[in-house]
Structures are given as structure tokens and as C-alpha cells.
């Protein structure tokens, strides 16, 4: 069957499935809308949480990040999964015991203060809106690339789908759809990886294939060979370890930030018991680990495949060692049309040279001895996953699956974020602060309206992404790390923590993190307004603004503890609340 038809069929079938699930799982009460009636099976919740949490970035971009950065990209792997350990042990079971609907609600109740609740709502809105822009854009891009529509059409289709199942079904609808989306996504990710691992190393599991010998008869390990060839082309070793301090800090910032992501935390409100919340966290990470341990294999193998395609690795520097442009494989041709891969014949020899021309010493040597006049191939890192099936010559249905998987990854995360946004508005702001006497029906309606407005805003921002989209991700993690995580943790682990301490801590952490990021990236990311150039020489103690969330969190803790020491302890009933949250059985 024609590839395009097949893609339409597969993607169309997944959409039909989401629609059916939306109609079956309509939400009738606020409890169903916010937390799926607290009746979700822990394994099912684990699957839904995994889909909620793995975004378009995890699915599409992470393997490419690893391919081009090797060891240095480990911060993302360890940071995002290790943060999950913190979330599972330090927060999830206790928040489930608390047993209400939202994360700001816990902060408001625990610190007996609407001010604290509103600060949490603001942090949540900034974090979630930032995230959702990327997801909406991901939907649009996946559509335009695979379905050959414009980005706008793709985005509107995505908005329509999310509208139907998120607004109708609330958390209940989102949960069932996310389970389906997880299955689609993981299948799409692992099938090509398995085939490529078999081709390159003869290993069925990509996880062991990466550590295995190449099956080309060279008796060399894949990683060893990759290191050697990259160095021969002027790059750093794949397994080399530069700048360990920022790797450490970035890992820490991503971990603390991950643990404070409200749309993930709220998923643990949906299971029946504390015991289920603990177990469900284990299942979630298991489901996440399937993708996260495959990604490094996809990265290393895709890098190897790319290098090997354009460069005969035994003949680096000899004219015949490079691929003739006229003889390039089909997949390169098809990705050239998308603009994600491009070639420019700088030395006019009709062959493709790919090497590190930023390495001045190597570039000079290559020009002198090889006659190379600059690296000629530009490869967008997102190709590493999207083009994988074509590179491995897999059948068309696998390509169709990748399209459906990328869209599923973006939609599932977008829906979770939109729910977090709408419940913060209808439950925390409207019901909690502005109009506490609102009826359940009114609140449910408000939740649906807030969700609709959030979808429209997200769609608008997806169409007109602010120029700083990439940098904003650092902002989201920095804010989650420096505001929500410390407040939640101290709310559970310190009975002495009071309202003054928590508010001062959150404000201090937020402000300092924001100022540090803006200092180097420009105020509100407006180009040219940065106070110092954004490079290692100017960073305070060499700390990258992307990694600053870890420091922001530390400041939050310290300020909160000092202020709490100087002010009155929380009232008796709040200390009772903390006691109660710590113990599974209701007293």
C-alpha cells in the first residue's frame, strides 16, 4: 500500500480509538473530572502516568540529543528518571493520603494560607503553559511531516482531538486515552530499535546491542568504534566526560524539577489507596524505563548509521572515502525535502564530507591534507528517531507507526497539562479563593470552560511560538525545582514549617532562579537585554543557567527554614494534618 495512505489509516485509527474512549469515559462529577473518581487500577495508572510524563521531547528529540552529545546527554536520562524516584518516595504517597484534588490545594491547606495557594497556582500555570506550547508544536510538526498537511492544519486537528476527550472526559477520559497512547508510543519506539540492533549487532535487545560487538566482522565493539571514528573526524569521544560539574548540577536540577511537576503529581490522586500510589509509581517508572533505556541505543546506533552512510570509516581522508552525493540513499533524499537534512558541496568534489569543522586544529589539518573545506552535511537531531525506520529499511507500516507514536506522545502530555491548568483555575482560584460557595455543577462547568480556554491559548502559542521556546524549557524545570518541590517536601517532612517560611521560601527560590536565568538569557528572553554574555566564563561559579534550578531549590529550603525558626509554629490542627498525611490508615 502507498505509504501516505497507510499513514492516514494508522493515524486515523488511533484517533478513532481516542474518540471512542472519550465517549465511554465521560466525567459526570468533579471528582471524576479532576481525579478520575480515584478508582484507577495502579498498573493502569502507571501506564497513563508514563504517557503523561513522556512528552514529544522524550519521544522525538531525546535520542537525537544523546546521538550528538554522547555521555553528556546522560544528565537528561538520569535527571528525568531519578527525579521520578524522589517523586515516588518523598511526595506521591503522602499527597494521595491528603486525598483532595490538586497540588496547590495541598499547599494552601498545609500552610493555612490562600496566599501560598495562589503562589503555587502561578508557578503551576507558568510551568504547564510553557510545557504545553512544546507539545502543541510537536503535534503540528508531526502532522505536517508525515501527513503532508500544513503545520496549522495539524495543530487544529490536535486541538480538536484533545478538546473532545479532555473537555468531555476530564481526568477519567484522559486516563483511558493515555493508556492507549502509551501502548502505541512504546510499540512505535521499540520496534525500529529492535530491528536496527539486530542488523548492527545481532542482538535482539537494543540495551545489550549497544554494548555488543558490531556484526560486520570487524570484531570491534560498537561504542569503541564510534569513539574512534568520531575522534578521527575531529569530534569529542562519544563516551568522553567533559564538564562533570554541570552534568552533576543539571542532573540535580532536572531531578528536583521533575519531582515538582504538578501534572505528574496529580496522577497519583487517581488511585484508590496509598498502597496503590506507591506501587503505581514503580509501574510508571518501569514503563518509562522501557523507552529511556532504549533511547541511548537508538542514539548510538543512529549516529553510527549516519557516519557509516557518508564516510567509509577505513578510508578517512582519502577522496574515495566519502559518499558521492549522486549515490546517496533514498532516506536522505526524502528527508532533504523536509529541510531537516541538507548538503552543501563546499569543496566542489560532489562527495559528502561530515566532520567537526568547529575544531580549528582538525579543520586546518583536514583542509591541508584531505582537501575538505567545511562540513557539508547538516542533520537536525530530531531525524534520529523519525528517520530510523527508513534508515533500517523497515516496512512502511513501521513508518506509519512512528507518526502515530509521535502524535500520541505529544497529545498525552498536552492533555495532562491542560487538566492541571484547568483544575488550578476552576478548583484553586474559583472554588478555593474567589467563589467558595459555587455548586459542584457550576465548578464542573467552569473546569470545562477553563480547559477550552487553555486549549485555545495553547493552540495560539503553538502557532505563534515565542522565539525563546527552547530556553523556556529550562525556565519550566527551574521554576518547578525552586518553588513547588521544596514547599511540598517541607510540608510533609517538617511539622514545624509554617506559612511564613513556606511563602518566603517559594518567593525567594522563584525570584532568584528567574533573575539568574534572565541575567544571562535576557529579561523575559528579549534578545539583547541580558546583563552578561551567556557562556561559561561569565556564569557565577561556572553554573549554567539551565542547571540553576538546583541552586534555587537550595535557596528555597534555606530561606524557609530560617524564616520558620523566627516566626510562630503552625497551629495545632495543621500539625495534626501533617501527622495524618504521614500514615496510610485514616484515623
Amino acid at each position: 500500500m502507498e505509504l501516505q495512505t497507510l499513514i492516514y489509516l494508522v493515524v486515523g485509527a488511533t484517533f478513532l480509538l481516542y474518540f471512542i474512549l472519550a465517549i465511554v469515559a465521560r466525567a459526570g462529577t468533579t471528582s471524576e473530572f479532576y481525579v478520575a473518581g480515584k478508582g484507577i487500577n495502579p498498573v493502569a495508572n502507571g501506564m497513563a502516568t508514563a504517557a503523561d510524563w513522556m512528552s514529544a521531547a522524550s519521544f522525538i528529540s531525546m535520542a537525537g540529543l544523546i546521538a550528538f552529545n554522547g555521555y553528556s546527554a546522560s544528565a537528561y536520562l538520569m535527571g528525568w528518571t531519578g527525579g521520578y524516584v524522589l517523586l515516588a518516595m518523598l511526595l506521591a504517597p503522602y499527597l494521595r493520603k491528603f486525598g483532595k484534588f490538586t497540588v496547590p490545594e495541598f499547599i494552601g491547606d498545609r500552610f493555612y494560607s490562600n496566599t501560598a495557594r495562589v503562589i503555587a497556582v502561578i508557578a503551576l500555570l507558568v510551568i504547564s503553559l510553557t510545557y504545553v506550547i512544546g507539545q502543541m508544536k510537536g503535534v503540528g510538526v508531526a502532522f505536517s511531516r508525515f501527513l503532508e498537511t500544513s503545520v496549522e492544519v495539524g495543530l487544529f486537528a490536535g486541538m480538536g482531538i484533545v478538546f473532545v476527550y479532555a473537555v468531555l472526559g476530564g481526568m477519567k477520559g484522559i486516563t483511558y486515552t493515555q493508556i492507549a497512547q502509551y501502548v502505541i508510543m512504546i510499540f512505535a519506539y521499540t520496534v525500529p530499535a529492535i530491528f536496527i540492533s539486530l542488523q548492527l549487532t545481532g542482538h535482539f535487545l537494543p540495551q545489550t546491542g549497544t554494548g555488543a560487538e558490531l556484526a560486520d566482522g570487524s570484531n570491534q565493539y560498537l561504542l569503541q568504534k564510534l569513539d574512534m571514528v568520531l575522534v578521527d573526524l575531529g569530534f569529542a569521544e562519544y563516551t568522553g566526560t567533559p564538564d562533570l560539574m554541570n552534568t552533576f548540577l543539571l542532573t540535580l536540577a532536572l531531578m528536583i524539577g521533575t519531582a515538582g511537576l504538578p501534572h505528574v503529581l496529580v496522577r497519583f490522586f487517581t488511585v484508590p489507596r496509598v498502597r496503590d500510589a506507591r506501587k503505581s509509581a514503580g509501574w510508571t517508572l518501569l514503563f518509562i524505563a522501557i523507552l529511556y533505556t532504549t533511547a541511548p541505543a537508538v542514539g548510538a546506533m543512529a549516529m553510527w548509521n549516519t557516519l557509516k552512510t557518508v564516510q567509509d570509516t577505513d578510508q578517512i581522508g582519502s577522496p574515495e572515502g566519502n559518499l558521492l552525493y549522486a549515490e546517496r540513499p533514498e532516506w536522505m533524499k526524502s528527508w532533504e525535502t523536509t529541510g531537516l537534512l541538507s548538503w552543501e558541496d563546499k569543496n566542489g568534489d560532489g562527495r559528502i564530507q561530515y566532520y567537526n569543522d568547529k575544531n580549528e586544529e582538525f579543520a586546518a589539518m583536514a583542509e591541508e591534507e584531505y582537501g575538505w573545506e567545511g562540513s557539508e552535511l547538516t542533520v537536525d537531531r530530531d531525524i534520529m528517531v523519525l528517520a530510523n525506520p527508513e534508515i533500517a529499511n523497515l516496512p512502511n507500516w513501521v513508518i506509519a507507526l512512528i507518526a502515530a507514536g509521535g502524535i500520541a506522545a505529544a497529545l498525552s502530555t498536552a492533555a495532562g497539562l491542560l487538566l492541571a491548568i484547568s483544575s488550578a483555575i476552576s478548583h484553586d482560584l474559583l472554588k478555593g479563593v474567589i467563589k467558595p460557595d459555587i455548586s459542584e455543577k457550576g465548578e464542573l462547568m467552569a473546569g470545562r470552560i477553563a480547559m477550552t480556554v487553555a486549549i485555545i491559548i495553547a493552540g495560539y502559542l503553538g502557532l505563534n511560538p515565542p522565539g525563546f521556546a527552547a530556553q523556556v524549557v529550562a525556565l519550566a524545570f527551574g521554576l518547578a525545582a525552586s518553588s513547588l518541590f521544596p514547599a511540598l517536601m517541607m510540608g510533609i517532612f517538617s511539622k514545624r514549617m509554617n506559612k511564613q517560611g513556606a511563602i518566603a521560601g517559594m518567593l525567594a527560590g522563584l525570584t532568584i532562579t528567574l533573575v539568574y536565568i534572565f541575567w544571562y538569557k535576557g529579561w523575559f528572553f528579549i534578545p539583547g537585554t541580558n546583563m552578561l554574555p551567556d557562556n561559561a566564563d561569565n556564569w557565577l561559579f561556572g553554573i549554567n543557567p539551565t542547571s540553576f534550578g538546583a541552586i534555587g531549590a537550595a535557596i528555597n529550603f534555606i530561606v524557609a527554614i530560617i524564616v520558620a525558626k523566627m516566626t510562630t509554629p503552625p497551629p495545632h490542627e495543621i500539625q495534626e494534618l501533617v501527622e495524618d498525611v504521614r500514615v496510610p490508615r485514616a484515623s
Binding site: 555521555y71 518516595m89 542532573t251 489507596r273 504521614r582
Partner: protein, 86 residues
Amino acid sequence: MEQRSNRADYWRANLKVLFGCLVVWFLVSYVFGILLVDTLNQISLGGYPLGFWFAQQGSIFTFVVLIFFYAWRMNAIDKKFGVAED
């Protein structure tokens, strides 16, 4: 009053398990995967340098086991202190 001291003991038992788990969490990621990565990379696990393996595979596997272990230990402690849900 007895219920109160029982709760305090339960919380201490929980913190102990938690602390143990976080030590392992720190060890496999920050120590093996980052701080000692160059030393461990002298050792190979098949074609993986060991430090690199911890950073991209081993830490993640350990995290999964860790969360299940925590859930299992805590359920046992809940039962022991009589605070488990029905």
C-alpha cells in the same frame, strides 16, 4: 497517647527505609554515573565502559527496582505498625 508514640515509631521506620533508598539512588547516579565515571570507565561491561553504562542504563534499572523495593518494604511496615489500609 500510645497511638501517638506508635505513629512516631512508624515515621522513624519509614525515614530509615527512605534514607537507605536515597543512598542507593545517589550512589548509582551521582557517584557511579558522574563523580567516579572516569575511574569506572577503566572497567568494561561488554562493550560498555562501566561508568558510561551506569549513566545511561544501570542507574535507570536500579531506580525501577528501588521504587518497587520501597513499596514492598513500606507495605510490610504498614502492617507491622497496624496502620495499613483495609
